[in-house]
């Protein structure tokens, strides 16, 4: 048997995911029923029952959101710990790329949290109204969320069963460093252009959000997300590690760097989430200024934090890396 399945953290992680999967299946069944039978004007007993069950769906979704967020952090920690028993791995980066499922799994996890957050926000506005105006919309959001959770569970299992503890994996410097001399950056960018794009897209996002132009906001948010990822891995990260060759999105989550990675990635992802949620919600007729402000605030925090590391390094050493 794969020795990973004897690791305490892996067991607990998979068990929790399975428990949440069971709740998701229940949730999915309820939502399908909602989409089929929901008729708010009806006085029938069935409708009354559905209205009660909507609260069950809401409770499950809230629990899922909370536990999935906690489990994401736990997952990253577990992976980091597994680097001890997987040859070649020095941190989570090596373990996550031990097979092709790892990165997909991480990405799915983020989208699950995003869709659940979208549901919770849509739900709170739906409950404030008197006729459940967003009921169908939020149900579809939950259908998508459950679908993603099913995929996530499949990836969970595939990921852990396909880690071979005897074949060595690469460490982060090999994965992200450009050892072969090939440019790892997208669109043929170099670092200067990447940074230029980084700050321009940030400004663009803030302006688009202020002007409340939906399409442009969505576009800049998505582009900024991609560029910010590369920016952190290939430029700002090296200032966190104070080492020009250390390029890794995971090591900054460790204690040595005061867990700053959580703040950094957290502010980026939730900044993006709230921005996209603002776009989607205004598409269905709700201009949620709070989400807009949260997005701008978090993204600004993110950019400030990145820049701060560079500034501090420069003021201490008088040179850049």
């Amino acid at each position: 048997m794969n020795p990973l399945f004897l690791n305490n953290q892996v067991i607990v992680y998979l068990f929790s995911e399975a428990a949440l999967l069971a709740l998701t299946i229940l949730l999915f069944a309820k939502i399908v029923k909602f989409l089929w039978f929901w008729d708010f004007r009806s006085y029938s007993n069935r409708q009354l029952k559905l209205e009660k069950e909507a609260y069950l769906a809401m409770t499950i979704a809230t629990l899922l959101f909370t536990l999935k967020s906690v489990l994401l952090i736990f997952f990253v920690h577990t992976i980091d710990k597994l680097s001890l028993i997987i040859p070649g791995a020095m941190c989570a980066a090596g373990v996550i790329s031990a097979n092709s499922y790892g990165m997909d799994l991480l990405f799915i996890k983020l989208t699950v949290i995003f869709t659940l957050l979208l549901f919770l926000i849509a739900n709170s506005y739906d409950l404030q109204a008197k006729t459940y105006p967003l009921f169908r919309f939020k149900s579809w959001v939950l259908i998508i969320a459950s679908g993603l959770i099913f995929i996530e569970f499949f990836l969970d299992i595939s990921y852990f069963t396909h880690i071979d503890t005897s074949t060595p994996v690469s460490c982060c410097s090999a994965l992200f460093g450009n050892l072969e001399g090939a440019n790892p950056l997208p669109f043929g960018l170099d670092i200067t252009k990447l940074l230029l794009l980084f700050y321009m897209l940030y400004l663009g996002t803030i302006i688009a959000l202020t002007l409340e132009t939906k399409t442009i906001t969505l576009l800049t948010l998505l582009l900024f997300g991609v560029i910010a990822y590369y920016g952190v891995v290939y430029f700002f990260g090296t200032y966190i590690y104070e080492l020009p060759t250390h390029k890794c999105p995971f090591c900054m989550l460790q204690r040595e760097y005061y867990y700053v990675g959580y703040l950094l990635w957290g502010s980026l992802f939730f900044g993006l989430f709230f921005g996209v949620i603002w776009v989607i919600m205004s598409q269905v007729g709700y201009n949620i200024t709070k989400a807009k402000w949260a997005s701008m605030l978090l993204l600004t925090l993110f950019v400030a934090l990145c820049s701060l590391y560079v500034a501090i390094y420069y003021s201490k050493n008088g040179v850049l890396l």
């Binding site: 708010f40 004007r41 006085y43 009354l48 209205e51 609260y55 409950l127 008197k130 459940y132």
Partner: protein, 221 residues
Amino acid sequence: MVVVEQLNRWYTIDKKRHQILKDISFHVKRGDFVLLRGVSGSGKTTLLSILAGLEKPSSGKVLIDGEPIAKLPDIHLSHFRAKKVGIIFQHFNLIDSLSLQDNVLVPLVALKIGLQEAKAMAERALKSANIAHKSEAYPTKLSGGEKQRGAIARAIVADPPLLLCDEPTANLDRANSLLFIDALHKLHQEGKTIIVATHDPIFDAIDFPHTIIDLKDGQIV
């Protein structure tokens, strides 16, 4: 204040429809005092609970203070209940594990009123219901009449315009029943709209203006 039109309530048991209320329509003006009379099983409690939003009608229209409550999502219905209606139950329905004062606090918690203000409001309600001296006592240690006054304090604590009472004197002796009617009279004079469902003949003797609605087999006669 209260508008009921073509209200029906039925239960379906084994595919058979049991009609409890049939085509009920009536109006109650603000400040009215209404007696809802009828023998046991005529549907008084059912009608009252529909007016309070505790139960949903099977069809028809119910407007309270201009608000259609027949199809209102739970959050709004609850808020309406906390703000607009005070209910006095036949069995008082005090929570035994809480002191009288904390019992009176319950509707104010639902209205998200700050603790300090809520306590002051509870104190006032207990005083005007003449039970302030027992505010620390627990319901199990109270007599029927005292419980009743506690229930009144709780019903009026959020100052709702509408009071609904279901068989309020069924568990009281004659003296306490008369005291209760006096209390209702006072509240009526303060301008509250009051609907009392009862078959207690003691109400036949009240000497202030009131309207009577007679129910028989779920219909107004």
